[in-house]
Structures are given as structure tokens and as C-alpha cells.
Amino acid sequence: MSLSALLVAAACGSSSTGTGSGTGSSAPAVDFSKQGNIEYWQGKDSSGNLPKLIAQFNAQHPNGQVTFHELPDSADQQRQQMIQNTQIKNPAMSVISVDVVWTSEFAAKGYVVPLPADQFPTTGFLQSAVTGATYFNKLYAYPSTSDGGLLYYRKDLLDKYGITAPPTTFDEMKADCDKIKAGENNSKLDCFAGQYDKYEGLTVNFDEAVHSAGGVIVGDDGKPNVATPEAAKGLQTLADWFKNGDIPKAAVTWREENGRTAFEAGQLIFHRNWGYVYNLAQSDKDSVVKGKFDVAPLPGITGPGVSSLGGHNLAITTNGDNKGTAVDFVKFMASEEIQKSNTLATSQSPTLEKLYTDSDLVKKFPFMPTQLKSIQGAIPRPKAVEYGDVTLAIQDAAYGAIQTGAGGGTADATAALQGLQTKLQTLIK
């Protein structure tokens, strides 16, 4: 990128902020009745199912047609385009697919409007998904997909060494690994890995370790409280596992796909990843673990594991035209029938609780009940208006510690978390 492009980017952003991008507090009552054509903005649709769903909606709604505006694959770029189009007040961008962690920022900065409670009932939806779409007791988005972490494990290896149940704690997992590794005598076989590159995935994995150890990042009072012995135990465990080599050192550069590739190549006994891996590991032609693996809830540090909450919600933008059609479209996309169709096509987890026991879905995705447990117990990542700063502060602290571990040193998790606590106190007030 050239310097002038940077300057342009900075300048373009400014011109609209100067005029104010809409402050939620002074916004007049929103008209949720106007029908007309709208655009739906979402990241890349790899399943090809979305155009079908939109065609179905359009057939039922002659007064307002929906066009799919496809955004890049990367979450950062999606967020950036949504922010830029809010600032230029693009009326076409009407319904957007919001990552759960963006909810606070988009709501607080007035990018999206609160949804009318009478039209958007939340009964029957996963409680954690609804919480993820709520800001200051108002629902700003309607949950469309959810996600929780799962423990993928090599059932064939566990069976071979007489281990009857998947581990529920890291200690059990280590015991299982030691037994299997001693028997297999394969230097390429590693015990466990999640996502530890310095990016959003690290925040997810760090949060899970802290929560599973009984710690919190932000307490119930909304204040950061991460400099605790419990939280330190969570981070220390990850760093020590790197030091011991139970987590391969290369995993400090791994994102979802690197870990999935390693698991499918048979290099990992246990692997933490999202639901989307299930379908791929069963069907990829390179996967050597086809039919040899199963999924379980995440193991924890001192007890059962706690997942971080993932997923996307549908929100209606402040500047979008034709909010009547937008309301109809959001309701349509979150309806039971459409969620089921979407899950069957993409293996993304639905947000309606009853779908997890739906016979068609469970038949195709036997891990659905496990996924439900994972999501029900999930804790969202910290809610913050300046989430970008918060997640970077978390990544700074966590990455430093696990890199020390990967380098063969003993990380000082307590000191890292004290530094994090100081930073979070200035970011979350």
C-alpha cells in the first residue's frame, strides 16, 4: 500500500466522521414499516446456499427485493467496509451480518438500531446467543448463527489404548496423550493444539483457558478482573504445555486451518476447533482421520471446559432505507425453516435451541448435541466498545507467555496478566 493510499484512507474516513455518523442517543423514532429494495451485507458465502434463501425471500416479498452484497472473507475487512459505509451513510447497506464481538461497538457508535421487542421475540433462542446480541439491555441484532469450540479427538487411538471416555480436563488429556504417545512411538504425533497465532483466535483460546480455570476477564460488574491466581493458572497451563511439547511449538503460528490440516493429517491426538471442521475432516480426500475421530466438549484446566462464544447476528443499519423490508428479511433469515436449511448446507450452528435435537440435523451432524452443550456453557469474549484494543491487549499478554513457553522458557503468567489488567482498566471503564 502506498503512502498516498494511506493518506486517502485516513482522509476519507474523516470527511464523514466530521459530520457525525449518527449518535444513537439523539436518534428519532425509527420507522420500521417502509417497504422497498434493500441490500444484505455479509462475508463470503462459500456454501452457495445464501442466494437460494434470498431468492426464496424475494419470491414471497414482491414489494421489497433483497440483493446480496458479498464482502471479503476476512472479518477485519468486513468490519471495515461496514464502518466505512456507515460513515458515508450508504442507504443501500440495510441489513448486515455482525460478528458477536462487534455488537457493542456497532450499537454504542450508533451504526445499528435497536430492534423493536414486540417484533423480535427471543424465546426459543440460545440464551448465550441472545446475550451476545444485546447491549445495555437492548437487542441490537437477531442471532442467526452460533458457534462454540469442540474437542476433536482420535477415537481410534483412544479405543486402542483402552481409554473409554474423552478427557474432561487438561490433566486427563495429558495422561491419555502420554499413554498413546508411549505406545505409538511416533515422533510426528503431538498431543493437542488450538489456535495460538497472534490474532482473534488467540483471544478465543486464551479466554477459554482462563474461564476453564475458574478465572474471569471481565467480572459480573463489568470491571476487568484478570490478575487472579485462577486466570494465571489458565495461561500458565497453555505456556507450560508449549514448553513440554504437548502442544507443538509450531502452533504459535497456527490459525484454524493450520490446526485442521494437522489433525486431518493425523498429527494431533486432540484438537480444539469450531464445528465447521467436522464435515471437512469426514469428507476431505486428504483426511486420514475419516471415520476415526469424534467430538467432545472442551476439556478444562481445573474442571469441565468453557467455550468462547462465536457466531453472527443480523442487524439493521441506522442509515439503511426501507426498514420494513429489512425487518421482514431478518425475521425470515432467523426463522426455524431457514436456519435448518442453512445448517444442513453449511454445518454452521443454528441459534434456535430446538434445532439441535431436530432429527434431520442430528442425523447429518451427530455432534449437534455436543455443540449445544458447548454453546450453552459458552462465555462471550469481553464486551467492549473499543473491542479492537481489548483483543489486542489480550493477545499481547497471551502471546508473550506462550512464546516464552514455545521457546523452552518458563512463562511468568502472573506478571503478564497484571500488565493486561492495567491495560484493560484503561480500555473498559
Binding site: 482522509a11 474516513g13 454504542a108 450508533g110 509450531a250 489486542l392 499481547d396 508473550g400
Partner: protein
């Protein structure tokens, strides 16, 4: 004024039609030149001038980001902070751990940018000159070698960034070759060298090509005379090749220096964001902009802008980089007089140079 304009007319009438014609034509051409250039100037003003001015204006503002504790809403809009965005660079409120110890994040990015530039440009210059020396030799398949050397330069940077990301993967080709597992893309000292290697690979051919153009302007007689006098190859290189190729080489190094100072794609695409050992000023500025902190982002971009200007100025003043091509022309013309056969080379080299600069 009226008399002044009237006088030449009188002289033109006195003299033959030739002068009259010339004067009239030059007047018309001047106006015509303005008219013809106007669209270009307008475009430059719109695409370069206005954004720069807006950017400078933006750098004096900050977005309001206070959250109302009762409604949870952010006030929005922006406020004037004067030089606040610039002075906060020196306040050191955001310390990060980088290759050069713990510094403010901007200072760290600035040090990275400078270090990467110095190391890369030195390596690229050495390699580039070597490539040029090889390419200038007459041998079978020279065209193929030249084209081959240019391939890295032709690949878009973001594509080569992703390619090198695969090479530097924990299980990638590079680690297979060196036989040990170095985590190049983690936030370690190795990532700094990964960026240096990828950038050198990509842009040494650029210096090579420009130097080659310079080499071709050196008349063969000079070397023949040196051989007769018994100069060694090394003496020929240091006493003839380097001094004569210097004007071209300095321009090539200048272009590379300015370009490397605003490096973005390689660290961003290959190493990723938030890794302080390879975070450059461009990357940091971009990240601030994505956090909707446009004021500081603009301020950082402007500091970089000034830094680039300063380096360019130093190159022109101290090293005598001949960017525009004025001062080099007489020298090249001398060469033309000296040797009739090589006379075409200097003229051919100059436009080639400008094209490379312009294309970049």
C-alpha cells in the same frame, strides 16, 4: 505593458516572416500547453492534493470515543486537538516490546521501518549490482536470464507476501532446507529477517535493472584502456564501473529507500497484524484507521510522509541523486561525443529510468 507588447510586433514586422511566425507560435503554444495540461493538473489536484490537505487537517482532530455510562452510547463526532496527535507520540503511553526493546508503539514502528529499510536497501544494492554485472555480460540466453531476474519484481507484492508466508511456514520449504524449525511468522527476531529476505528477493532485480541501464552507458574503450594499463578486474570495478554507474545507482537506491520506508504488504500479508517486531509505520497507521482513530492515523502517515521527504531531500543534496534528469544530461552527452557507436545507449537509458520510476 502596452508599449512592451507593441515593440516586438514592430520588430517582427521589420524582420522577415520567420521571427514573426516563431513568436506568434510560441504564444499560442504557451496557452495551448496550459489548456492541454489542465486536465492532468486537475486530476493531480483531486487525487493527490485534496487528500493530502484533508489528511493534514484530519491529523489535528480526534474522534470522540467517550461512552455515556447511562445509555452506553458514544458521543460521536470529532474535536480539535491541535498538535495533540503528534505530541502524544513522544508521551510513550502505549509501550510495546519490539526488537529494539520496549518503546512506544509508534516509535517501535518507526525503528522497525528504519531498520528494515537500511538492511534491505544495503542487501538489495549489493545483490542488484551483482545481477546487473551478470546481465551486462554477453552470453547465450542473456535475454532469458534478464527476464528471469525480473520475475520477482513483476509479481504483485501481496502475492509474493503470501507465497513467502507458505515458504516460511513452520513446516514450510525454508525450514526443510535449513533442517530446523524456526518459527518465522511468529513475533520473533526471525520474522524481521523473513521480511528482509522476501523484500530483498522481490526488489533486488529492480536495482539490477536500473544499474544495468547505467552500465550500458559506460563505453567499452574505457575498459580496454584500463586493461592496457594493467588494471585488475577489481580495480576496473572500483575505479571505472562504480564511479560511472553511480548517478544511476543513486537514483535506484533512492527509489528503493523511499519505497521500503512505506512498506505495508509484506509485513501485513506475510507476518500478520499486531506483531511488533515487523510492524511498520504504514501498518500501524492502517491499524489505527481501522480502529476509527483517523486523527492519529493521519498524524502517523504525515510523520512518515515528512520522513520520506527528508530522506529524498538528503539523497538529492548529499549524494546528488539526479531524479529529474537535468544534471545527468550533459555528462551523457559527453559520452555520446566520445563514442559514436555507444551513443544510443545513454539516450535509451534515460527514458527507461523514468519509466521504471513512473511505473512504480
Amino acid at each position: 505593458m502596452a508599449t512592451a507588447t507593441a515593440e516586438p510586433r514592430v520588430t517582427t514586422v521589420k524582420e522577415d516572416g520567420h521571427k514573426h511566425k516563431k513568436n506568434a507560435l510560441s504564444d499560442g503554444q504557451g496557452r495551448l500547453a496550459y489548456i492541454l495540461l489542465a486536465p492532468t493538473l486537475l486530476v493531480i489536484l483531486v487525487v493527490a492534493g485534496i487528500p493530502v490537505v484533508m489528511s493534514i487537517r484530519e491529523s489535528f482532530f480526534q474522534t470522540n470515543n467517550g461512552v455515556d455510562p447511562t445509555t452506553g452510547m458514544v458521543a460521536g463526532g470529532e474535536r480539535f486537538v491541535g498538535l495533540g496527535n503528534f505530541t502524544s507520540i513522544f508521551a510513550g503511553t502505549n509501550p510495546v516490546q519490539g526488537s529494539f526493546g520496549t518503546h512506544d508503539r509508534f516509535v517501535n514502528a518507526f525503528l522497525n521501518t528504519t531498520a528494515i529499510t537500511i538492511v534491505c536497501v544495503i542487501l538489495e544494492t549489493i545483490l542488484g549490482v551483482a545481477m546487473a554485472l551478470i546481465m551486462s555480460k554477453a552470453f547465450r540466453g542473456r535475454g532469458l536470464v534478464r527476464a528471469g531476474i525480473l520475475v520477482p519484481w513483476a509479481i504483485p507484492t501481496i502475492v509474493s507476501a503470501l507465497m513467502w508466508k507458505l515458504i516460511f511456514d513452520a513446516d514450510g520449504v525454508m525450514n526443510r532446507i535449513i533442517g530446523s524449525q524456526i518459527l518465522w511468522t511468529a513475533d520473533t527476531g526471525a520474522s524481521f529477517w523473513a521480511v528482509v529476505i522476501a523484500d530483498t528477493w522481490k526488489t533486488a532485480p529492480f536495482i539490477g535493472l536500473l544499474t544495468l541501464a547505467g552500465l550500458q552507458t559506460i563505453p567499452a574503450e574505457v575498459y580496454e584502456a584500463a586493461k592496457v594499463d594493467g588494471a585488475t578486474v577489481w580495480q576496473q570495478f572500483t575505479r571505472i564501473t562504480l564511479p560511472l554507474v553511480k548517478p544511476t545507482l543513486v537514483v535506484a537506491v533512492l527509489f528503493r529507500t523511499l519505497d521500503t520506508l512505506r512498506m505495508f504488504d509484506l509485513p501485513a500479508g506475510m507476518i500478520g497484524f499486531g506483531k511488533y517486531r515487523t510492524e511498520t509505520v504504514s501498518v500501524f497507521s492502517y491499524l489505527e484507521a481501522t480502529q476509527t482513530r483517523y486523527g492519529p492515523a493521519a498524524a502517523y502517515a504525515i510523520v512518515l510522509f515528512v520522513y520520506v521527504l527528508l530522506i529524498a531531500f538528503l539523497f538529492v543534496k548529499v549524494l546528488g541523486a539526479d531524479v529529474i534528469g537535468d544534471t545527468g544530461m550533459p555528462k551523457k552527452k559527453k559520452g555520446k561525443k566520445g563514442s559514436g557507436n555507444d551513443g544510443k545507449a545513454p539516450d535509451a537509458a534515460a527514458p527507461g529510468l523514468e519509466m521504471m520510476g513512473g511505473a512504480h
